[in-house]
Subunit: 411 residues, 2 copies
């Protein structure tokens, strides 16, 4: 069971979390709980680090920031005990949760689950584990996994103790076919395959951290996204409560061709016209952008009519648009191109579904439907289980609703 910052924002909410845990214990389950810092605490701690020095040592940042989860784990253990549940807190270094030494964005290398399992068996003790943190084995120093890392901690712990399921309690009750604020007919999915969730999470659906989905896929940990606001006493711990199960595609009986529509509005498009079509030109373009820390997303290259030059289109975050244009103007001599076009009012709409692997013509349906609505497609990229379209930002909602209906996702 994993609970995020808003679910443990104060002692009252921690008590609610404890009741969720007790329900599972009473049903005979062995439980490990992973907790985040109380809402707002991490920001406060990060703020102090920045105030102390804008260029702070990431190792010390980790020492400061990891304290937030430590507080929650102790408080939840106390609260569980007050409900008569045997429980103890665990910090990353105590289990240990071994990570790389990339402080501030460490990767989990290994978790020793043996002691936790021994305590399940010997005394039915609930393990309350600080998420987001670990220890670097070589240096013995505290590490953190980066923002949102508690999801990753939870899935990794679940793998280490061979849990039947990893329940992620959030402020939403599952994963939706698209953003319900944009499409009121969006449906909560009962199940979604790891690969699909990976695309959805990468494309900005903020339910789960991408890395946690990857881990779930690699270690085959079924992840269940559910609401922490459900009343603990209303839930049957043996049945399946409201939520979305992220699992192997084999477990999904009624596989749909398209499972979800994702979109992001803060995109900018840059087109480089009549670039010399020769080896090394892509490096000449994207090298300077990477050095400037500008994240390039969709990349589309067209051969131009003359056969000697090419047109190259790609997207960057809207906030980096001006900066990217300047970097490219500065490198013009080295790259060699005729003209730079761009627009910072574009949106990316993505259609995801494992079924696309075996169904041809899925994207073609979208092109037709959007054309009928007068929506111009500026660029297209595809992968095995998704395709993304770049359109004018003003049409985003219309496009998402059109595709949502087109693929039979409306409830």
């Amino acid at each position: 069971m994993k609970f995020g910052g808003t679910s443990v924002a104060d002692v009252d909410r921690i008590r609610n979390v404890a009741r969720h845990v007790k329900r599972e214990v009473d049903a005979g389950h062995d439980v490990a709980v992973v907790v985040s810092a109380m809402a707002g605490k991490t920001n406060e701690l990060v703020g102090w680090c920045r105030e102390a020095s804008p260029l702070h040592d990431a190792r010390e940042y980790d020492v400061v920031v990891a304290s937030g989860e430590q507080v929650t784990s102790g408080l939840l253990a106390i609260t569980l005990q007050s409900l008569g549940v045997t429980a103890r807190s665990w910090q990353g270094w105590q289990i240990p949760i071994s990570t790389s030494n990339a402080h501030g964005a460490a990767r989990i290398l290994d978790i020793d689950g043996a002691e936790l399992v021994r305590r399940f068996e010997e005394r039915k003790e609930v393990a309350v584990i600080s998420g987001f943190q670990g220890i670097c084995r070589e240096t013995g120093r505290i590490t953190t996994l980066g923002r949102g890392g508690s999801d990753t901690s939870a899935v990794a712990v679940a793998a280490a103790i061979r849990a039947d399921r990893c329940d992620i309690y959030t402020d939403v009750d599952g994963v939706y076919t698209t953003d319900p604020r944009v499409v009121p007919r969006a449906r909560r999915m009962d199940k979604i395959a790891f690969e699909e969730m990976l695309e959805l999470a990468s494309l900005g659906a903020k339910v789960l951290q991408v890395r946690s989905v990857e881990l779930g896929m690699v270690h085959n940990v079924r992840v269940f996204v559910r609401s922490s606001f459900d009343k603990p006493e209303d839930i049957d711990p043996h049945g399946m409560p409201p939520g979305t199960l992220i699992c192997n595609e084999e477990e999904i009986v009624e596989q749909q061709v398209v499972t979800g529509i994702a979109f992001s509005k803060d995109e900018a498009q840059i087109s480089i016209r009549r670039v010399q079509d020769k080896p090394g030109v892509a490096a000449a373009i994207f090298g300077p952008l990477a050095e400037a820390n500008i994240n390039v997303d969709m990349i589309v290259q067209n051969v131009s009519g003359d056969g000697a030059t090419t047109d190259l289109t790609f997207t960057v975050p809207a906030a980096d648009y001006e900066r990217a244009a300047k970097v490219l103007a500065d490198s013009r001599a080295r790259i060699g191109y005729e003209r730079l076009d761009g627009a910072n009012d574009v949106a990316k709409v993505s259609v995801i579904g494992i079924g696309m692997r075996s169904h041809a013509g899925v994207a073609a349906q979208a092109f037709k439907a959007l054309a009928e609505r007068g929506i111009n497609i500026r660029a297209i990229t595809t992968s095995e289980i998704k395709f993304s379209l770049l359109i004018e930002a003003a049409y985003t909602e219309l496009a998402v609703r059109t595709l949502h209906s087109l693929y039979g996702l409306d409830k």
Copy 2:
């Protein structure tokens, strides 16, 4: 160097602390710094534990509360680095600072200072150490030393690294002959012997924690109490700044007979009249009080005129007066006494000085001077280097000023 909560209350004050540390480093010293939690943080954390459960597990309480020092140590390390000082933070479990498993009030058993010293030598690295916390070796769990424990951490670390001196930075600039708010002529002492400071601290002078003075005495760590509000740049790190050095009596050249006057007002007196003077009667009286968690202080026993009974007087904290009287009334049959007298408006005034060992008649001077002022002495206890007098609370200030002048302590 040790800095308390008010000295590290926010990032600005932590920067001031860093400048103190840098001054010592620049002067060529190897420095270990022990820090408390930012002012108010410990109370906030303790409050959450109580809210979670009034009867909380002390092991989990320690997990929650120790996080406060962790934050400060990381922030100070960051700030030192921003001033160009090589520094790293250390938690109790990293050094390790091994303690007993008396969670919430653990005793330091051992500190391994080897790695800290190695880093002084190899890279002039300042060790920033979280005070107040340690680790229980057998269980691997976080422990805390109880309130004020950072002083103890500092002296213990100083002993472990064989420091020349342990500087305790506080919000006062040293130890005074008595409370300057009561006696404007109170003087800051340049030096005071461990034994004297131990009595002063036990009697309620809140400059240092008693346990830290004991440790300093046992391990012969010279402790220097000084102000964190002095401007770091105004201090000559090679000279002796304003403050009080707590040291071996041999180091104090001009030893005075009396060094300080302590007092506490929140005392209550209880007298049991005509108790049967037989073995076991003291146990019958003080056993039930101890069981009720009532702290008994001065105990005076007089043989009464008849030879078969005795009068017994002792003090308890004023807040426990009613409760103590009830406990004794309930045990009357078992104890066997005629009458219970009491007063909860009494004060204890204590006169401390190592010189008393070799000077007779020191207390007699006090009796005479107080009698001349019309101050009645209700009870007297003495030890090798101090005597305490119980008087009516209204006379406290008069008595303290009288004794302060009598023993030549006025500046």
